[in-house]
Amino acid sequence: MGRQLKQPFNEKKIFTERIIVSIIVVGVVFILLLSRYFYLQVIQHQKYTEQAEQNKIKLSRIDPTRGLIYDRNGKLLAENITTYRLLVTPEKVSDINQKLLEIRSIISISDEEIDKINEQLRYNPVFKPLTIKTKLSEQQVAEFAVQKHQFSGFEIEPYLNRKYLHPIEFSHLLGYVGKINQNEYEQQDQNIYSNDDYFGKTGIEKYYENQLHGTPGQLITEINAQGKQLSQKIQTPPINGTHLNLTIDVYLQKASYEAFGDETGAAIAVNPNNGEILAMVSKPGYDTNQFIYGISQSNYDELATSIEKPLFDRSIKGGYEPGSTIKPYIALAGLYHQLITPEYTMFSNGYYQLPKQKRRYHDWKQGGHGHVDLINSLAESVNVFFYDLAVKLGIDNIHTFLDPFNFGRVTGIDISGEKQGILPSRQWKKANRDMVWFPGETVITGIGQGYFVITPVQMAQALTILASKGQVNPLHLVQRNIPSKSLPFEIQTPHWEVVHQGMTSVINATNGTARSIKSNDYLIAGKSGTSQVYGKSEEDIYKKNDELPKHLRNHALFIAFAPVEEPEIAVVVVAEHGASGTKAAAPIAKKIIDSYMTSRTLKTEVSTAAIRPMDNQSLNQAETNDE
């Protein structure tokens, strides 16, 4: 069907008719509306004037009190303290500047602050109280009370403010609250939040914001026509925020932070039997209390630009290669796939080569470790053993096996900002590098190098599974019951045990790489690792770490759990640029475990049974090979 022909004249006529109808409708509706306003404003004026004069009831909100945060033993970590602020209602003061000068005799107000107040006064509606000074001291409050009559229009108001009792050690874990910003405010229920509210910005404060905040109540204030207050009544009481009981032990948290000494890094201590995190630190921390009132620009810049990156939460955001700490997991994979047995031995001559390839993958020890079995390969951290095993496993098996241990996946821990990381695989490389997987990359995967980006919290989750022999207990920071899960595949108990023995030997056997942290009171199992720091020149790679500037030294890693027989604590330590896992990270882990073990009554008698008798034999071999 063709288009109907247009008839311009006729159309103009129709349109004109419609416009005329519209004008009539618009006119009539305006007259109707005007009569509504005439009715309200002229005819019923008297009634509404009376109502306005009697309008006594005003609704306002009563802020809920923010929930407190306690550690696992009920020790207070974050509280609310009453502080005082000075307000002025501009329309009640004739000469504000004069009064401000006078008030300086009681409350110090700098010239800068006066300039800022004058700026704010331009924008502040005259009837609205303006805050001119926060954090008043008790003495200032008392002095002002005495001279109050001289300063009508000025008043002091108490309000609750957050305070952190251990700001440095808990800076990343608890996070901090600050004034809600426009974006945050718009995304919240405005029946619950006011645009003047405090809001969790990072850490636990952010993750549990909605529970901690509470629901405001409603206050009915009776006022007269001049705005004077007559009486107040609580219409609905506020529902205060929920208190949080963390799984953290405040003493262990502080001990963990202090264990670092001058080093920077992260440490996580967890109970492997239930996933409760006992301590989680990122060092250096910073004073979160100064963020509450709004930190000054210069202080903030100092924190933000510091080379030690205090604002960066290494425990959940720091990405590292696992290095040799991956070896126990690779060993388990080999046992599971029946590529090795606990008795299997191989010869380490100092390097590994792929068939028909020139490149040599070196052992850390020149000349190699000689004949080694699984336990000794862990104890001495024999690279060649794991190069070989990784190649036998293949990257696909390695990826499938490591994935349920939570490497390269967010753990879902209850704190905001966790990073995902990378567990290398063929698919990952194709998708992100658009390249096929090379066999050489499988070789170094065996010693935890290559594309790995693993966060300390992921290492802690994996270690929890390893220490508890396959129980998957999700890590968490606020006390609650989380059902234990299991791995998608079953690993036989002897396999767990042999890996535990290998890790025990790392510390307790005479050939163990971390024998310097051996404890006489209980058995610790562990594994050191080194996370490479990139950006070094070709020669620098072969330089000894202490010849390098600190920022180019490798990161030192250590994973450990104790007591070996029935693990109660599992610890992950990353000492940034610590160079050697055994030298820098292991002592920190030891201090944390010691601190935990001494604070509890020792239940377990020290037993050396976990070191296999045949250790002596393999030690002899190791010694022969050393020569």
Partner: protein, 359 residues
Amino acid sequence: MMNRRFFTYIPDPILMVLLLLLISFGLVVLYSAGGMVLVERQAFRIGLGLVALCIITQIRPERFEQFTPFIYVGSVMLLVAVFFFGISVKGAQRWLDLGISIQPSELCKISLPMMVAWLFRHTALPPNWKYLLGAAVVIGICTGLIYKQPDLGTSILVATSGLFVIFLAGISWRLILGSGIVAALAAPVLWHFLHEYQKQRILMFLNPEADPLNHGWNIIQSKIAIGSGGFWGKGWTDGSQTQLDFLPEHSTDFILSVLSEEFGFFGVLILFFLYFVIIMRCLFIALQAKNTYNRLVCGALTLIFFVYIIINAGMISGVLPVVGVPLPLISYGGTSVLTLLVSFGIITSVHSHKKLIQQ
């Protein structure tokens, strides 16, 4: 002299004077309602809007016509994007963050009537059933997406802007009456599809005194503000309802209550007169337009402007439900002012290019 190449057309002076009077009146009221800081911010947005208006005036309406399908598809795509990337405010996803926050549903208030007018641009009017069906689809897509955000108020307004084009295109009165009856019959069915808070607003509108402390509070306070203003008003910045904070949201949706309280019925009369004259001027421009597309777009944009006024003024005086529509060009807020000044830019462009042969 102004650079002729870039600024050939001066926007219709009559309309501009009226708009500036209205805007100034609005800023005076805003000062009383929210202080200088809001006035400065709003003045900045208005400035931006006026610049946009002047630039749009320079563009020939043929260009809008040509690009209408793209503008329409673009705004529909933005609406879809809201579902995936939108910012959620109070449980409704309406905003899209593209460096600046934008509300794609506002864009539809312009692009939808343009699209319906574009469909009708070459056909004989009144349009036959095929074209009406096309218009229904075009309106349905926009309205449906906005309703799903969920934003009932805006979806109804956007649908109305499209229906105005159909009305102006001259469909028979019998059809209009018929669909009116169908809509009335369908209303009880639609009730079931409303969200709880939407039902509550309508119920509260029917009987605000039933719950004076919560939902009815705003309307009661607003009526007291209006009524106590009397004929001459309580005087600028002297309205007790406003200044003692009895009146809610007094710089945005309830700014007309502030005006009524402080400037009285006399102020309302002046405001309505300004609005009325602006609407008359725009309808006059629509009558003079040179082709169907221009006529329909101008007419529809003007009528939807009128609808905003009625809904806001009706809402705050308690004759229409509270639907959260700002008072055009007076309420504090950026999106609404920008959308409106862009609409007026299209109208002034049609006015500047009304002759069939230009120069």
